[in-house]
């Protein structure tokens, strides 16, 4: 036998064909994603091809491709992304996750898009769940969830270097390198970004809103065993976001014959913010069996926004009289500001303001002497120096979260996702919180997907959440799909969702501590204004009803999604976060109804056409929630691959009244690739051309030129 075996060396390897081949179930039931026709809601997926074709340098610009998404800018580096609407300057009602880590800031309920240590080049796709999804993602997934997913490191082996230069000060660098070590693969990215933001404001004044940042991101995946893997990621970002003096002056200079006014006019500090973000996260996946998957996710995240400058104002801001007046009502200090600068030429007249304050603002007449005394006090100080002190708006936010999730395919027709999480949030700021505020949140969630019949799919899910600061909440969701054909479904979805008030809304304790105070201040150095959160705000509540259709025509390679919706938010907190006149409550209400569609058609091997459109009708009781929503908005994109390594894209974005002004832009991108396979060079030109002449989001957000262009060179090897 031995002799034969030796003479026939192939015997040993015989017959893979004959032996049953043992292969692991890689795309197991628990790993597979839901097909678009089975999702309990509306989803937009922006894939890599689209991200590239958009030429976007930042995520918010990519999100313009999502129907119903309202993208606006407060400053060049401060973009706000809202789904359907509500407040223009803040984005409190959407959850944003990067590889499962929430980058929604706990302290100020917003997302600093520019400060996330994530390069657009590293994004594999962005999944946007359009509609409430508290049942799966917890509070703050009130109006939608944006899920940003990094390209797995395995797919990013090799080295990539990319340089981008353009007008508006665009100067970006990106470099990444993928490598493997034993049973791990990893990708390290380093990147830097710079631009000058808007050019000038509506007074023609130079706009101080440049940004500069450096960041790194390391993403790795370690295979622990055939069934277990560990994804690990860490990153940091350091940068500077420019901002003009953010201090609201009580007594603005109005007459340069006074020393106070002259010195105030010359005092031009800036409130540039140093922004640093750090995070580390682990994601352990264990396939206990092809039908049972256990995942544990944990992360730590720290964000710092540091801004310090020297503020100057009238000494009366430290006057006990002004504090007394402010306590009578937030409106009175604002009126005093009118009086001191003689607003409209009328407010300087004691007869006018006395009458107005009593008659229209409800100031008790016996308190009028307070106002007169303060006016006199300021007048007396006007020949001297202003009061100046060191002010900071430093804020440090920290978050830790652990989540356990079990996906179980109980049978061919029943799948469940169960899990729970614990989260700890802390915000530290002497100015905003007089120290520190923290919060603990516990969550339990369950989602069931049941297919009783080929034509029916039912979903039921719920999240129970205990938030130490805002209490208990329960958010259910029910959805039913009826399949017209296997890839064509009609859906009906009902969901409830909540948003917990953020720490600022509920727990603010914002006043300025006067360090290194100089000038003619006697007695108290306690600043007059204090914005205090009421501490008893309730959660905002959303009720959403949706009917939709999702279909994929495989013969045409055409996918279509249409939805009509009726969403109501009650208990809304709409007040802006500010130091004066800060009286948050749960009194606002909004309703959104309308229809949205998206269509993605791979017309041919070389052409792809994509259209989105949203029609939104809304009611909002708070004035601040009435501006943002565009009634009609959408996008149209055409991507084409040409011979000889050329590719082009043309994208139109339009909104009729986005924050009360028209927005229309045409973006073009042309790229040429040299080389093939894993060694190549790509040169690309992106050109954005505004078709309207409005400021971007706000009238003061102006550019010199309607055209924004940048070229990039990318080398892969």
């Amino acid at each position: 036998m031995l002799g034969v075996a030796l003479s026939l060396p192939a015997f040993a390897m015989d017959d893979i064909v004959l032996q049953p081949l043992e292969l692991p179930s890689v795309l197991s039931a628990t790993r597979l994603k839901q097909s678009p026709a089975e999702i309990p809601g509306s989803m937009t997926v922006i894939d890599r091809e689209l991200i590239r074709a958009s030429g976007a340098r930042d995520v918010p610009e990519i999100l313009r491709l999502v129907p119903g998404m309202m993208v606006g800018y407060l400053l060049g580096h401060r973009s706000n992304v809202n789904y359907h609407g509500t407040n223009t300057t803040e984005a409190r009602r959407m959850q944003v996750l990067v590889d499962g880590r929430s980058v929604y800031r706990p302290g100020l309920a917003t997302v600093d898009w520019t400060d996330i240590p994530l390069a657009v080049e590293d994004i594999e796709r962005i999944e946007v769940f359009r509609g409430p999804n508290t049942a799966a993602y917890g509070a703050n997934a009130l109006m939608g969830v944006i899920n940003i997913i990094s390209t797995p490191p395995e797919l990013r082996q090799g080295t990539q270097v990319r340089i981008t230069q353009g007008n508006r000060g665009v100067n970006d660098l990106y470099a990444s390198h993928g490598f493997s070590l034993q049973n791990s693969v990893a990708r390290l990215s380093l990147f830097a970004k710079e631009d000058t933001g808007f050019d000038f404001d509506d007074d023609g004044k130079d706009y101080r809103d440049s940004r500069r940042l450096n960041a790194f991101n390391l993403l790795g995946e370690t295979t622990l065993s055939a069934n277990q893997s560990l994804q690990w990621q860490l990153g940091a970002k350091e940068g500077s976001n420019q901002l003009e003096n953010d201090y609201t002056v009580m007594a603005e200079p109005s007459d340069l014959s006074f020393r106070f006014d002259r010195e105030m006019a010359e005092h031009e500090p800036n409130s540039d913010t140093t922004a640093r973000d750090y995070f580390a996260q682990l994601h352990w996946k264990n396939d206990l069996s092809p039908t049972n998957r256990l995942e544990v996710k944990a992360y730590a995240q720290h964000m710092e926004r540091l801004a310090q400058w020297r503020a100057c104002d009238s000494p009366i801001v430290f006057s006990p009289l002004l504090r007394e007046l402010a306590e009578l009502g937030n409106v009175y200090p604002r009126r005093l500001n009118y009086i001191l600068r003689n607003r409209s030429g009328a407010w300087g007249d004691p007869a006018f303001y006395s009458d107005y304050l009593v008659r229209y603002d409800g100031l008790p007449p016996d308190k009028l002497p307070l106002v007169d005394a303060l006016v006199a006090e300021h007048q007396a100080a006007r020949d001297g120096q202003p009061a100046c002190w060191d002010l900071n708006e430093n804020l440090r936010e920290t978050r830790y979260e652990v989540e356990v999730q079990n996906t179980l395919q109980l049978s061919n027709s029943l799948r469940t996702v169960l899990g729970g999480s614990l989260r700890y949030d802390e915000a530290r700021s002497d100015t905003f919180f007089d120290g520190r505020v923290d919060n603990q949140i516990g969550q339990l969630f369950a989602n069931f997907e049941y297919r009783p019949h080929d034509r029916w799919l039912l979903h039921a899910g719920a999240m129970a959440e205990e938030d130490r600061l805002s209490g208990f909440s329960f958010s259910p969701r029910l959805a039913a799909h009826y399949f017209l054909r296997p890839t064509h479904s009609l859906r009906a979805v009902y969901s409830e969702a909540v948003r917990s008030p953020d720490m600022y809304e509920n727990n603010a304790n914002w006043t300025y501590t006067a360090n290194n105070l100089s000038g003619p201040v006697s007695g108290s150095d306690k600043y007059y204004a204090l914005a205090r959160g009421p501490g008893d705000l309730e959660q905002e509540r959303m009720r959403s009803r949706e009917l939709g259709y999702n279909g994929y025509f495989s013969n045409l390679a055409l996918s279509v999604d249409i939805k009509v919706f009726y969403d109501e938010i009650s208990n809304m907190i709409s007040q802006p976060l500010q130091i004066v006149n800060f009286v948050p409550n749960n009194d606002s209400f909004s309703r959104f109804q309308g229809a949205e569609t998206q269509l993605d058609w791979k017309m041919s091997r070389r052409d792809r056409v994509r259209l989105t459109y949203a029609y939104i009708d809304f009611v909002a009781t708070n004035r601040l929630d009435q501006r943002l929503t565009a009634r009609n908005s959408g996008s149209a994109a055409w991507l084409r691959e040409w011979p000889a390594g050329f590719e082009s894209s043309l994208i139109y974005y339009g909104a009729d009244m986005l924050n009360e002004r028209r927005f229309e832009r045409l973006d073009g991108r042309v790229a040429k690739r040299f080389g093939s396979g894993t060694n190549n060079l790509e040169l690309a030109l992106t050109w954005q051309y505004r078709l309207d002449d409005e400021g971007l989001t706000w009238p003061e957000n102006l550019y010199e030129n309607r055209s924004h262009y940048y070229v990039s060179a990318e080398l892969d090897f």
């Binding site: 015989d14 692991p24 890689v26 795309l27 395995e154 495989s554 390679a557």
Partner: protein, 318 residues
């Protein structure tokens, strides 16, 4: 006879090396075959040589017995009987490459039909050339069928990624011809080093609509499977093939020959030895798909029987 001579001149797909050989000898051999097989058209003794009895070999023999009711079927297992035992049969049917090698090593001139031999196992075996009396029904799926199946599942398919490692130019040239005849552009990438798998795959997949699995064990094996499937899945591409066991793991669909298909293919060859090809693909086959993967990727649930019937219809009209 003239028809058969015409067929002799008709160029079939074949590995380049074997084709050249076959062209030279085909017509002579065919006459030999015909004369020998003609004798057995009434009742013949068929000897099935298996490396060791397994459920699969038993099923194959059962199916063959069902197909060849008039013939006597013997089974010879290599692990229980002496390798050089005299075999007295009219046609030897071997299962697996080892059985084939053993049989050929004897120097017997009894006609041999080899089954359960893949192109790659043949290339890796000690068999440099097949003798005239041997026919191989390949176990790996026929490239044309795989590409047609892919086109049935993805009607808009234009380009397919093909990843190969070895210098198996025969198989590659067969794929190229199959792609040409199906109007599919192939993006062929050679995997230079095992650690380049993901990178090579990504750059090829990004230019392709589908990944075709090749009979190439150095790429399509249990160790690489996770990378291949997860990478394709991440990039919204599906894998077709390379063989039936890959379907449960996450490949979308493949053609394959079940023991019954293989028995019918042997039966057909015994009755219709007209082809001049030394290597051929099974005439009968089935389709196997992963329904869950199809659903997750937004495909209509594949109807395997209908897909197989459609592939047969296309082959019959050609």
């Amino acid at each position: 006879m003239t028809d058969r001579h015409k067929e002799c001149r008709h160029e079939q797909y074949l590995g380049a090396r074997i084709r050249a050989l076959a062209m030279r000898f085909a017509c002579h051999i065919l006459l030999l075959w015909l004369s020998s097989l003609a004798m057995y058209s009434q009742a013949a003794t068929l000897m099935v040589i298996v490396p060791s009895p397994t459920a699969l070999t038993e099923e194959f023999v059962d199916e063959l017995t069902r197909e060849r009711t008039g013939d006597k079927i013997l089974v010879h297992s290599l692990d229980t009987e002496p390798p050089n035992m005299a075999v007295n049969a009219d046609v030897i049917i071997t299962m697996g490459v080892a059985s084939l090698e053993r049989q050929l090593a004897k120097g017997s001139s009894t006609p041999v039909i080899a089954t359960y031999v893949s192109q790659s196992s043949l290339n890796e075996s000690a068999l440099k050339e097949l003798p005239r009396h041997a026919r191989v029904i390949l176990a790996n799926p026929k490239p044309e069928r795989q590409l047609r199946l892919a086109k049935l599942l993805i009607p808009r398919l234009r380009t397919a990624a093909l990843l190969h490692s070895s210098v198996d130019t025969d198989q590659l040239s067969h794929w190229i011809r199959a792609a040409d005849s199906n109007d599919v552009k192939l993006n062929i990438a050679e995997l230079a080093a095992p650690e380049d798998l993901a990178r090579t795959l990504v750059s090829t997949l990004d230019r392709s609509d589908v990944l075709m699995g090749l009979d190439d064990r150095s790429i399509f094996n249990a160790d690489n499977l996770k990378t291949i499937l997860l990478t394709s899945y991440t990039r919204d591409r599906v894998l077709i093939g390379p063989s039936a066991p890959f379907i449960a793991a996450g490949s979308l669909s493949t053609t394959f020959s079940s023991p019954a298909d293989m028995a019918r293919s042997v039966d057909y060859l015994l009755d219709n030895p007209a082809s001049d090809a030394r290597l051929e693909y099974p005439r009968f086959f089935s389709v196997l798909s992963n329904q869950q993967v199809a659903r997750s990727m937004g495909f209509a649930p594949p109807d395997d029987a209908a897909l197989a019937a459609e592939l047969v219809r296309v082959e019959d009209t050609q």
